[in-house]
Symmetry: C2
Amino acid sequence: MARQLKGIPQPVVRRLPKYLTQVQDLRKAGVEWASSQDLAEALGLTSSTVRQDLSHLDILGISKRGYEVAALERALVGALGGGRTWKVAVVGAGNLGCALAANEEFREKGFDVCALVDTSPRVIGRKVGRLTVEDVAALAEIVRERGVGIAMLAVPASAAQEAADKLVAAGVRGLLNLARAHLRVPAGVAVVDAGVLENLQELSYLLHLSRA
Amino acid sequence: MARQLKGIPQPVVRRLPKYLTQVQDLRKAGVEWASSQDLAEALGLTSSTVRQDLSHLDILGISKRGYEVAALERALVGALGGGRTWKVAVVGAGNLGCALAANEEFREKGFDVCALVDTSPRVIGRKVGRLTVEDVAALAEIVRERGVGIAMLAVPASAAQEAADKLVAAGVRGLLNLARAHLRVPAGVAVVDAGVLENLQELSYLLHLSRA
DNA sequence: TAGATTGTTAATCGATTAACAATC
DNA sequence: TAGATTGTTAATCGATTAACAATC
């Protein structure tokens, strides 16, 4: 009966967090049922897309009522990693790295940021939120001892590949790459690229387009 | 002869900043020519995709040599907003907002962060890098006087729509949404969503998948 | 020249949308 | 019951990949 969690298409996977946010909001608002149409309007999609998307999850809707909000939340959480907590390390204690390390929301949502490392003696030892900046030389040990599964890379582009290599060698299996560099990793390691500057450049294109 | 800059498909637009990064690296390294195959290897694409992508730009390659690095850089910069500088406001002076406001790289790349605003009297007046946190009440005036075209939203999800409405009313035409909320904006306003938590959740899915 | 590499067309692949019988 | 909404199939749309004549 359990649907396969494997092989959800990437565009769908990227929408799942958005469904989850919306569904959690609905639950907090005391809403018990949501139709594909309701969800579509809230997220700017079509109801058809919503039903297709949710068909990948372990949930069935009910005619005339839609999807049960609580059940849908469980199904979304289940698909997005099963509700387990990941240990996360932040590499790079610059402005961005520190901001990420200090963000309490991640912990609430299942991402326990348990280490912040840097190369610079000037920042090693500094307190950031509940963490202390540690020496990147101890990275392998930290990853092993604390069971770090995911790392966020907030280092300069020139240092990104080397940091990624170290992390992978230490056993990290997922990288969130915030650096402006294309990372090469062995099969079995997942990389998700993020980058605010890239996002700004996309915006710039869109604005340039509509002004032209 | 000038190719239309209009209507480059979104997946291509999202790759353009990556080409630009790579091409700038090549130029700095003194490389003068790059073939589609070279670029493909550096970015993890196929040479066919690269040629299709670059066919949207105002540049032609040359058989047997590839693309001239300097010309390609100009074409990419041109497509991504024409090399003009955008005035950018950051809304929300929490950890993330301050980190973004203090980032000098944006300015170098044509995004002049010229304002940082917040609602809280506790942070208004505080210095962040070269900026001082200002009262969100002055937002409309700031946008108008400084010619702000793009805003980065680094506010709690519950405040995001209201902030977006204010920004749009004040004349901002592009929003980079870092909040966990779906923004509704009028036609003619561009929104790009970013969200580190969403990226972590995507990673979580991928890791869950490969472990299962 | 011979061969490498382009720009572009055609084929394939995949995602979104539309449509509708099933059903609550 | 009648009608709203589902899950799923089929149609459409769009992106990626393959192939190749043109060309430097």
